[in-house]
């Protein structure tokens, strides 16, 4: 199969968000990482104050957040949210 890219992609805009993580609040439940529809999150290498791995945006996927806000909605500890990028 030929993988052709649509010729008019430039005309299509998608909302963009910037993920902000309040690392110290995280208790490593993993919901956001599991459910991010674009799968842009992963566990941090280091620990927060409470000793948990918290979510970070995967390297190179900084522009991939689509501002669906699902992480913000399911996080039980209000530890993650996204800000709209214009």
């Amino acid at each position: 199969m030929v993988i052709r890219k649509p010729l008019n992609l430039a005309k299509f805009k998608v909302p963009k968000g910037r993920v902000i993580v309040l690392a110290e609040r995280c208790k490593e439940c993993g919901l956001c990482i599991e459910y991010c529809p674009k799968q842009i999150l992963e566990y941090s290498e280091d620990y927060n104050e409470k000793g948990f791995h918290y979510p970070v945006v995967k390297a190179g996927m900084e522009n991939e957040c689509i501002f669906c806000l699902f992480c913000q909605e399911i996080c039980p500890d209000f530890a993650i949210f996204s800000e709209k990028e214009e």
Binding site: M1, V2, R4, K5, P6, L7, N8, L9, K11, F12, K13, V14, P15, Y35, P37, I66, F67, C68, L69, F70
Partner: protein
């Protein structure tokens, strides 16, 4: 009993092979035959008159006509005998043309003998014939049209304008079919959308038309006059009555996927309309690509953006039951998948495109706004090679037939390409140019006369990539030279094939298809828009490849057939149905199991004094198709198809086999 035998010459078709005088002489000696004659063309006005006069003059009670296939003129002759008061089921036709003179033209003596036997068999059969009366059933004055392309739209409008209710069912989210994808149309170069869109809108707003898009016919039961149809509406996840078509949802949707309508050359969002002029202008959420699933709502962007709250992520498929008296199938065509055309690099090189893809590139409302660009790098191609008959007229691809539209649309595309890229070069490889339509040849001649459009007669053997060019190897059979062209883009004209799902639909409606899967008409000349299933009509490219003019003409023809059916008081069915002899039936139920139309039920007799109530088979006449399966399986000869009874068929076979 007074039988008359009429033998037709069919000009030289029959009389050129078979000795008709001998037939007349021998036929007149058959039992109960009081008159035999021959005539040059029985189907002609004077021929029919001759039959009528003799019936009256000689008080004939039964008639045998030896002529062409009953498929051809059974109705003509039935009408003629009925005209003078003879029940048409007391007429028997012996086919001495297709079954005799045509196939045995090299052996006239044997042909004459066979023709005589066929006549003798027909006489034997008609001697046992009973007069029959057509069966009348009530008629539902509504119509189902399947497929919302130009064929379906035209048919629906014509029927609706005649005052009857129409359900127009389309599988995709919008009406329009392939015509909506075209740029401009040959031979007039009218803008396709400009002719089509007003018709789409008219259909959608017509008070007699119910447009049901994004839906498919799931089941159909019943017969002419009374079909019960189940339609499944796929969930759109957008409530049509609430959607205003503003497109706010689309703007915020984060998912971009290729747009099928643009053949993947353009993009769309997961919530979309296939094209801006779509009818109905209601958005469709495609759950397969949406971030949400049936179980989990992750993204609510469109829901939040939608002012009228038209979006419902929990919508379910919906079944609608309707009743109609007639069905028109207008399901159109597809193109042979480009991956099947490996020799031309189809499916391998992005700049080898189909004619339909090229239409999207030429279209002002297409992904490039009408600027022709290469899919690989977006550059404007300066040299384009068109390859006609890509798969058509080619048994190896399973399409030995001519796809009929490609010569014309390739010429059109070459011309339109020159309009947008005036310094470009176009090469067209063709086997023959078939331009047999009104003003078609003139159009092709005009294109051939254009500068830098070169027609090369011959086949392409190979297309391959060399750096960023496509190299086309072919043969020019006129100069006898091998040619190599370095092109920027290659446009194939793939064979036209029946649209996906045609076979299933045909099975559901008991309509036959030809060896390539196109729907079959009863007779190409006499009944071109009727299917073999009574009450089911055909329109458009589903029946065979055709262009828009032909499609529109056939669609109107189908509509006129439907209108003449619906303007009757009742639907008339052939009385060729099975009858049960209650005395002979032992109630074994073999026929009940065998009947493919479920026309038979097993019932118990009304109370009989002192005796056991017997079980026997009962035939629903309006459902019976007279196929005769029951008759073949019944061990007691208790079930007989009227007009083709066991005794009649036995007499016929016996007459065929016995020597004089």
């Amino acid at each position: 009993m007074r039988i008359g035998v009429f033998i037709c010459h069919c000009g030289k078709n029959i009389a050129g092979v078979v000795d008709v005088k001998e037939l007349v002489e021998r036929a007149s000696k058959l039992k109960d035959v009081v008159y035999a004659t021959d005539y040059v063309y029985l189907c002609s006005e004077p021929g029919q008159k001759e039959i009528q006069e003799k019936i009256e003059e000689l008080e004939l009670t039964h008639v045998v006509i030896a002529a062409c296939s009953p498929k051809m003129h059974a109705t003509t002759f039935a009408r003629a005998v009925k005209g003078v008061g003879l029940n048409p089921y007391l007429l028997e036709i012996a086919n001495i043309r297709e079954h005799c003179s045509w196939v045995h033209h090299d052996k006239p003596e044997i042909a004459t003998e066979k023709a005589f036997r066929l006549i003798k068999a027909a006489v034997a059969k008609v001697r046992l014939a009973e007069p029959l009366e057509p069966i009348k059933v009530p008629l539902t004055r509504k119509v189902l049209v399947i497929g919302g392309g130009i064929a379906g739209i035209r048919t629906a409008l014509d029927i609706a304008n005649g005052g009857f209710e129409v359900y127009l069912v389309e599988r995709t989210p919008s009406l329009g079919g392939h015509m909506a994808q075209l740029s401009e149309t040959f031979p007039t170069l009218d803008c396709s959308a400009c002719i089509l869109t007003p018709l789409m809108v008219e259909a959608a707003h017509h008070k007699n038309i119910h447009v049901i898009t994004y839906a498919e016919v799931k089941n159909i039961k019943g017969i002419i006059g009374n079909f019960k149809v189940t339609i499944e509406k796929k969930p759109r996840y957008v409530i049509p009555e609430k959607c205003t078509g503003c497109g706010d949802c689309m703007d915020v949707c984060p998912v971009i996927v290729p747009n099928e309508f643009d053949q993947g050359l353009g993009a769309r969002k997961a919530i979309y309309v296939p094209f801006p002029q779509a009818v109905p202008l209601v958005y469709t959420l495609d759950l397969e690509n949406c971030l949400n699933t049936q179980k989990l709502v992750v993204c609510e962007q469109c829901y939040k953006a939608c002012g009228p709250r038209a979006i419902n992520y929990l919508m379910e498929p919906q079944e609608i039951e309707i009743e109609v008296g007639a069905v028109v199938i207008a399901t159109g065509f597809d193109l042979l998948p480009i991956e099947n055309l490996k020799e031309y690099g189809g499916g391998k090189y992005p700049d080898v495109v189909t004619g339909l893809e090229f239409e999207r590139l030429l279209s002002a409302s297409g992904p490039t706004g009408g600027v022709v660009r290469r899919p690989s790098d977006g550059k404007i191609p300066k040299r384009v090679v068109f390859i006609q008959c890509a798969g058509s007229r080619d048994p190896e691809h399973g399409c030995p037939y001519c796809s009929k539209i490609c010569c014309m649309y390739t010429a059109k595309q070459a011309l339109l390409y020159k309009h947008v890229v005036p310094d470009g070069e176009a090469y067209v490889f063709f086997i023959d140019v078939r331009a047999a339509g009104k003003r078609y040849e003139e159009f092709v001649q005009r294109v051939m006369g254009e500068e830098r459009i070169v027609y090369l007669r011959g086949k392409v053997s190979k297309v391959f990539q060399r750096e960023d060019k496509l190299v086309v190897w072919g043969a020019d059979t006129i100069s006898g030279m091998a040619v190599e062209i370095e092109a920027d883009m290659v446009v194939l004209a793939p064979a036209v094939v029946p649209s996906k799902g045609t076979a299933d639909l045909a099975k559901l409606l008991k309509v036959s298809v030809d060896e390539f899967g196109f729907l079959s008409e009863v007779h190409p000349k006499l009944r071109p828009v009727e299917s073999v299933s009574p009450g089911v009509y055909l329109a458009g490219a589903a029946q065979a490849p055709k262009d828009i003019s032909e499609t529109a003409a056939q669609a109107s023809a189908a509509a006129s057939k439907v209108l003449s059916l619906l303007s009757q008081k009742e639907a008339t069915l052939e009385p060729i149905v099975a009858h049960v002899d209650k005395e002979l039936c032992i109630g074994c139920g073999l026929c009940w199991k065998a009947c493919p139309f479920k026309a038979i039920t097993m019932v118990r007799e009304e109370k009989r004094e002192g005796k056991k109530r017997r079980r026997y088979a009962k035939v629903e006449e309006a459902v019976c198709q007279g196929c005769g399966v029951c008759m073949a399986i019944c061990e007691k000869k208790a079930i007989n198809v009227a007009g083709f009874t066991y005794d009649q068929l036995s007499a016929q076979v016996k007459a065929l086999l016995e020597d004089e």
